[in-house]
């Protein structure tokens, strides 16, 4: 992680003194032993919670696939059965497209967590005010 010492910016003595002065005034508090223990415990909880969520993810995905297939089967069952040779090709393709889309949507990569998906209006605001 550490590079050669020469990989430091060249500062004039005045600039160096200013930077040292800022660094001395702007220092984060050192956590106490109790705060470190609390931090570790909270982190452990967060990791465990996420791990549980990741393990449940395949079960949720499986349930969603079953639900999508159920919708597909129900959609087919409610259609008036045409006489042989009169199968509506447009309906068949539409129904299979719906089921395929549902399954594809499950397989497609989506944001890993809800908070990672920023709302569209926020993204627009961000582009205007923050430059991305």
């Amino acid at each position: 992680m550490t590079g050669p010492l020469s990989d430091r910016p060249d500062l004039t003595p005045e600039e160096g003194a200013f930077v040292r002065s800022i660094a001395s005034f702007y220092t984060a508090p050192q956590p106490s032993a109790a705060e470190r223990v609390a931090f570790n415990a909270k982190l452990e909880q967060r990791v465990a919670r996420r791990r549980t969520a990741w393990r449940r993810a395949p079960a949720f995905a499986g349930a969603a696939v079953v639900a999508a297939l159920g919708v597909f089967v129900l959609a087919r069952a409610t259609v008036v059965t045409p006489r042989p040779g009169e199968i509506s090709s447009s309906f068949a393709s539409a129904a299979s497209t719906t089921a395929e889309s549902a399954i594809l949507a499950l397989a497609t990569d989506s944001p890993e967590e809800p908070e990672e998906a920023l709302p569209e209006d926020y993204l627009a605001i961000e582009d205007v005010f923050l430059g991305g």
Binding site: P13, E35, F39, N40, K42
Partner: protein, 176 residues
């Protein structure tokens, strides 16, 4: 066994980098201690989850600090939106945890001056001048070119010296 080994390695990594991670987040988040701890935790969780995807084209710590800096940026964006649309947050909410030593007024002024810098300049200044990373490390962490980091450092320093001229020790000497 793999999970246990991963957990053990991760614990060591957290122990080694925890204080610096919180400190770096604190500086990037204008001295907000609660937010700094939250961001550091989130960065550790994401690192843990992403360990399998870690490519060894950078050191593990560089990769982790990259996650942390991005997480701090994400937090800043959400804070900005909240402040903009839900009203200003209280400036100094009481925090029962230890307060840093030194003058709180001065600290706030520095935080505001850093906050006013563009993202690239702020991150470069904090990483190199306040956290002691090398220019090359800062370039890897922020995903920018070394030349860009140097340029950001130059501009950040000029802007801060202008905004915080009274903190410049040599200027004070010259004026007195």
């Amino acid at each position: 066994v793999d999970e246990a080994r991963r957990g053990h390695c991760f614990d060591s990594f957290v122990r080694e980098h925890r204080d610096r991670a919180i400190g770096l987040a604190w500086k990037l988040l204008d001295g907000d201690q609660a937010a700094a701890e939250d961001v550091a935790q989130e960065a550790f969780v994401r690192a843990y989850r992403g360990l399998g995807r870690f490519r060894q084209d950078a050191s593990l710590s560089t990769w982790f600090y990259r996650i942390l800096v991005n997480e701090a940026h994400r937090h800043r964006r959400w804070r900005w939106v909240r402040q903009r649309f839900a009203g200003e947050l209280p400036e100094d909410s009481p925090d029962p945890r230890a307060q840093p030593l030194g003058d709180p007024y001065l600290r706030r002024r520095i935080a505001r001056a850093l906050d006013a810098l563009p993202r690239g300049q702020r991150e470069a200044f904090v990483l190199v001048h306040l956290e002691g990373f090398t220019v090359r490390d800062a370039a890897q962490i922020t995903g920018r070119a070394v030349g860009t980091i140097k340029s950001h450092l130059h501009r950040a320093l000029a802007a801060l010296r202008e905004r915080l001229a009274d903190l410049d020790p040599l200027k004070e000497v010259n004026e007195s």
